[in-house]
Symmetry: C2
Subunit: 221 residues, 2 copies
């Protein structure tokens, strides 16, 4: 598989990345094509689409061998599911699939770049393909699906003390959206424990107790 582009996002570490695309609409990325694919004609007509598919590589999840089962974090991390019944990165071919919103196309020194919203990709992730999202063939609102059916509505209540809110500035809404989706590995429940999530140039510290996440500190790097 040839790398056609790389995406730049504010996620510098795996911890805290939304677990699927579209969950955090505020999470924005920029797709920069590799020099060989920096051809404006290849994007002709793409501005007519509201959504795109990205097929990409789980760059941090490459393993020598594959395991037939995985433990999805949303099941508490202690129940094994077949790898083909999950979106786990640890699969025979470590390829991810994300639908993103096309927010704009910008001319830059690196050619035309695509600005996309709702990303769930680590900064620098290699992109193998970009396809238009076609609602008539790709959208199945009636699709049902095992343990993931209840996921959409799961959210933490986020509390950020006033003195810390000021430090977030225009990132406030995005950070709240990221924290609401609960970045913790689900098998842990320890109200005393402090977690740190890296976002852009910040490390955001928090604790979680009884469904409420409280931000305890913010450090600029």
């Amino acid at each position: 598989m040839k790398v056609i582009a790389r995406i730049r996002t504010d996620f510098k570490e795996k911890f805290g990345i939304p677990r699927q695309s579209g969950i955090v609409a505020e999470a924005v990325g920029r797709i920069v094509f590799e020099p060989e694919y920096r051809v404006p004609e290849a994007l002709r007509g793409i501005d007519g689409y509201s959504h795109l598919w990205l097929i990409w590589g789980f760059s941090l999840a490459e393993r020598e061998d594959w395991s037939p089962t995985v433990r999805p974090p949303r099941l508490g991390g202690n129940k094994r599911m077949g790898v083909f019944a999950t979106r786990s990165p640890f699969r025979p071919n470590p390829v991810g699939l994300s639908s993103v919103r096309l927010l704009g196309i910008e001319d830059t020194a690196e050619g035309k770049t695509l600005i996309v919203g709702g990303v769930d990709l680590l900064d620098g992730t290699p992109i193998y393909d970009i396809k238009p999202y076609l609602a008539f063939t790709d959208s199945h609102p009636e699709a049902t699906g095992g343990f993931s059916d209840g996921v959409r509505d799961y959210k933490l209540s986020v509390h950020i003390p006033e003195e810390l809110k000021g430090l977030l500035g225009s990132d406030l809404a995005t950070v709240v959206a990221l924290l609401e989706q609960d970045p913790r590995p689900s098998y842990k429940e320890d109200g005393e424990r402090e977690y740190g999530m890296v976002f852009r140039d910040m490390e955001i510290f928090f604790t979680v107790l009884d469904g409420t996440l409280t931000v305890t500190g913010i450090k600029r790097k």
Copy 2:
């Protein structure tokens, strides 16, 4: 990319294959895993899902080089679009994306196989990945998209003489659904021309005039 499975379908030739997945619900395929991936545990929980994603290889579309633009048949075949604004098989990485309906799981001499509906894949197509379809992240009924928006409702009216209908037997509904979606390369409009579509062990001949497709003959192979 490792081939984890191959799909068996009734499409032995490229001509006549539905242009996207789900368009012809009656088109059924059987996913047979390669021996290394024939592990029942890898499918644990997959029966909870109504739809699956297949990531697969365009086995007939491999080319040495890529072209930045392609001519989609639905635009009449004479208008060039950027390859990333289309689902054309001729792309830098010849990888396809199809959502299919999971109809059943069968125990066979070749291990557990998945029966899926709405396929748009040639018989023998290599499968690289199978993922569950998650409506909360994959379904965007509101997505808009350039020239493809009008495609859903485009259908030919299909006329099959009574004496030929009998030859189709239980395949009648499937064949009608395949013909309705207009297998012709769109840039041709020649009411005299006879086309032949291969489906399973039959070759089905037809002409098209003014939006009506007439079956002119059926030959068992």
